[in-house]
Symmetry: none
Subunit: 190 residues, 2 copies
DNA sequence: GAATTCTGTTTACTATAATGAACATAGATA
DNA sequence: TATCTATGTTCATTATAGTAAACAGAATTC
């Protein structure tokens, strides 16, 4: 990277691919709409804290916004299970989320592999309207609760959600459970 | 990461470990000595460009300075619609494909769970340009070939490839392999 | 077709990042 | 001792990041 990162296009690409307006992103990030507009067109030199707030509002890693766009766009993107490339996120309650999808290829699609230790739970706050979640149970069985709906799914089962309410995935068994999760951002306005 | 990254200690740690003075780093980075002092003690909110110049002066990646010690937390919020999925299966040459995704919900996204018996192969003709496939190996190990690229992936590995060329997934082992496959159809090309 | 509600951009202003110079403290050297 | 010569910090000023509000265009709604 020979010049400071041009983060404007990164932000705009992700924002527009999720069909978010400047107003909505402004509310979610706490950064003013005017600033967002200027940052996206690279007219200003944002602070780290501001970019961090934007990353938070977009639910992406800070580095995803700072990454230069000169990546070679290979046909193959390999993300080995045990090596350095996977980003691992561990929650305190025996739930670990591994990010499978490289953000550089698709902005409105994210894939995770969630491992739930026995008697652990993954709780999530209400997400944006229009977002869908696709769960495939890879191992064990989990109990899914979303608003008033709930279901018990086990290995091989598949479940789809629309997500605008609080929901949780819990493993109440004595066996480790693994869930493949695809999150899709399709926020169409209504 | 619940708060913006505290980069001051990162910079200072690297600088002092290399026995560089503020003056020297100032010369190498182009950032004033005063600014460096204030950044290291987290008294200011530096811009991305300034931190980038410091990273350059230290010969490290930008992300090395921004990385927080605490692991980031990414939480998803969803809202269920209470739909559940159709289950179809096709059998052919020791390869069974189970369609996970309900076609009614997404037009450009399809999900499958592919089970490959030992020494079986799933070959596919080229799809439309822009189509991508996301593979997650759930069990065993498979060999993937797409055009000239090929890779051997095993349980937990994740692979993305453009499949507008002839591609195949083969199981050359003596163990059953299971692959989670997401196919995404996109009409726009870069 | 005028009014209303969106969108993103530009303006006027405030807060503060960034600078250069002065300052302070410490360790040499004589 | 005093006097250099380093270190990093604080001061006064300038440059600009960031904001709120006004603005203009496009798409809806009445």
């Amino acid at each position: 990277m020979e010049t400071p990162p041009m983060i404007g296009k990164n932000i705009q690409r992700i924002r527009t691919s999720r069909k978010l307006t400047l107003n909505v992103l402004s509310e979610r990030s706490g950064v003013s709409k005017a600033m967002l507009s200027q940052i996206e067109s690279d007219k200003v030199n944002p602070t780290v804290a501001t970019v961090w707030k934007i990353a938070r509002g977009l639910n992406v890693e800070l580095n995803d916004l700072l990454d230069s766009d000169d990546q070679p766009k290979r046909i193959f993107t390999l993300n080995p299970a045990g090596e350095d490339s996977p980003k691992l996120e561990t929650h305190e309650n025996g739930v670990s989320i591994r990010i499978l999808s490289p953000l550089s290829m698709v902005e409105d699609l994210e894939m995770y592999l969630v491992t739930l230790e026995p008697h652990s739970i993954l709780s999530s706050e209400p997400h944006y309207a229009g977002t869908q979640e696709y769960l495939t149970v890879v191992k064990g069985a989990v109990k899914v609760q979303a608003g008033e709906n709930h279901a018990e799914i086990r290995k091989g089962d598949f479940l789809v959600y629309h997500c605008d309410v609080e929901h949780s995935i819990s493993n109440e068994s004595n066996q480790v459970a693994v869930v493949h999760m695809v999150v899709r951002f399709t926020e169409d306005k209504r």
